[in-house]
Symmetry: D2
Subunit: 213 residues, 4 copies
């Protein structure tokens, strides 16, 4: 079993991105499973091209994408990705799609096919706050989650999902009343999330549309 974990590079005026910083620091082997890491650009479609190239190369069983959700308080495991790009700001190459489908031949939405509730529980066992989120937005994070699930279906036998992580403390020094999370805590939470994915690998997740009780 192999898990491919992606993290975005910095965007939106930030010089660091907790997504790629935390992905770099997670364990390379979790419960006997190989963890492969991939930095992807914060760019619509190009991020998916980079992902697809890597997919063909390493043939992972699971794709877990990680992105920053500035302002959120905890690690949020996303339930669903929707077929829609609607960007409030430009991505790292100046693209700003407004109300555009991601894939003309894709479904309206894909549910995460990783065990999102078991992941939340496992993260909380490590004393790291976590919860389910019902929206990954309409920027590059929702985009890559949608693409990952589209590609998972295209190549078959791949599970996929997405985790949003809060700002790091150093990113909120001049942002009053904005939550943040320590990098070590984010890493601990991601390791726990991956552990939950590995341990629930035999479960039939299809029945409940992507998550287990």
């Amino acid at each position: 079993m192999k898990i491919l974990v992606t993290g975005f590079d910095p965007f939106g005026g930030e010089t660091t991105n907790p997504a790629i910083e935390s992905v770099k620091r997670i364990d390379e082997n979790i419960e006997g499973v190989e963890v492969i890491k991939l930095e992807i650009p914060t760019v619509f479609h190009k991020s998916a091209d980079v992902l697809e190239e890597k997919l063909k190369e390493v043939k992972p069983d699971v794709i877990l994408c990680v992105g920053q959700a500035g302002g959120r308080y905890d690690l949020t495991v996303e339930r669903v990705a929707i077929n829609q790009d609607d960007a409030r700001i430009e991505d790292n190459e100046g693209n700003q799609p407004i109300d555009v489908k991601i894939r003309e031949d894709g479904k309206n939405a894909y549910f995460a096919s990783i065990p999102i509730k078991a992941m939340v529980e496992e993260i909380k066992k490590e004393n790291i706050p976590a919860s389910i989120s019902n929206s990954a937005g309409t920027f590059v994070c929702n985009h890559i989650m949608y693409q990952a699930l589209y590609l998972a279906e295209k190549y078959g036998n791949i599970k996929a999902g997405f985790i949003h992580v809060p700002f790091l403390p150093n990113q909120v020094l001049d942002k009053p009343n904005t939550a943040s999370m320590n990098l070590d805590d984010i890493v601990k939470g991601l390791n726990a999330a991956i552990r939950a994915i590995v341990n629930h690998d035999g479960d039939d997740l299809e029945v409940t549309g992507g998550q287990i009780a």
Copy 2:
């Protein structure tokens, strides 16, 4: 042209629901279009049964559902409904579905087929705060929006969507730091939203998955 507007009855320990209270007060005729009002129970599936009965009776061109989103700051026009019930609390008949599909034969999600961005703009022109939301949650509000769009597709030639309204001021007297909105302002906002639906009736909304720029 006829518009059917639904509002939920009170739930979750509240004695009033700004949804049905505001729906009762909106205009009966907006830009020459007849507005038909329907109170629906805050109950999974039964709410949809009541809606479907009314649908068959009045044959509306548009279904606009209205629900309460306690804690939100403004009128939020929902972009998408997902095929998933996941209830944190019981509905008004004690049902608490966890991670269950709403319709086995339904799509993963349906995008609102009413002009959500034009609606936001028209509401704001009335000096009422409004924005797009990318999640209607996984309780009865998402449920009825999903069902409305499912039924719209089943019966054909119907457009549908959903607006979430904040708590009323009297609901937050003992809830510190919780936003609320005056009932007259909610009503003014809903009238404006319906006006936008009527005025954008000729637009081809399909192209962008349900919204216009």
Copy 3:
């Protein structure tokens, strides 16, 4: 009995100030008591000079100052004013005092001498959200509350206090997730607050535990 109610003019880039807008609309006679209204500039010290002039002219029994607290959710009756100006932004004449005493011969702080808890209760009876606040900040609002209480002591037999009001809805159209309050509701709340002041005029406030002088 006469009550002098002050409201600030707009500041901080806003074109309107809910403080003076609401003060203009409150009743001129409340429970048989004359209400005198005064617009004051959002300027350190000059606001107090304007207040003192009016004080000498009308000889009120009570001074109630009203100011905007952008971001707050409800009407907040202030408990205390501190002897400190510390401005994050410039006032309307470009002054930006940093860590400066308001009055060299003043106390470190003055407690409101109006019945703050009775006021909160009376406002809530009108279904308008309200609460006690323990800080009026260190900008012009705290400044005028401090000055009013200093002057009340100087001239004797005057009670004084301060109420903060939220943004109006039209002020938050482009401020996501920011609370606001309808102008009519603010006015209704201020009328109720003044009613409480009048009705508790004879009370020994020590006994009722509502506040201390």
Copy 4:
């Protein structure tokens, strides 16, 4: 030079208090200055009795009190303490004073006599979010800050102040949308705050009422 640092025990249904947990872990010697630690009960007046006993014993030059402010996002250095107990919940011995003066012979308020702005800057240099707060509330935290400053004046030549710390991550696992801070980060911040106190010891803080730019 000696610094006495106090931390409260758990209260309000919590089994842990980040205040005493972090105080236990700060350095015992900072910039050559001895740091003495003291756990105090979350009880009105008794906390001050314990503090006064220790004061007489160790004769510190500075008293720094630390308490939990659940819901806050960063380390907040308090500017002022007011002569008022007004408890929303009971303390750890069942006391719930409402609108009561802390010291009949005390001032209405005392300003912190430690360099609060230099402390904020030094904490932020460590990449830990921090800011000035203008209210320590009216519960036991404000109480002990007020008492520390009262006692500092009584015994002479002592400086005093207060820092509020957020919840720990394990305290918010079941509190949605509530900020928290990693314990190591809190400790790092407190060490930095004490460093700032030591390094600004020669400054004349009286002029600006307790803080420097």
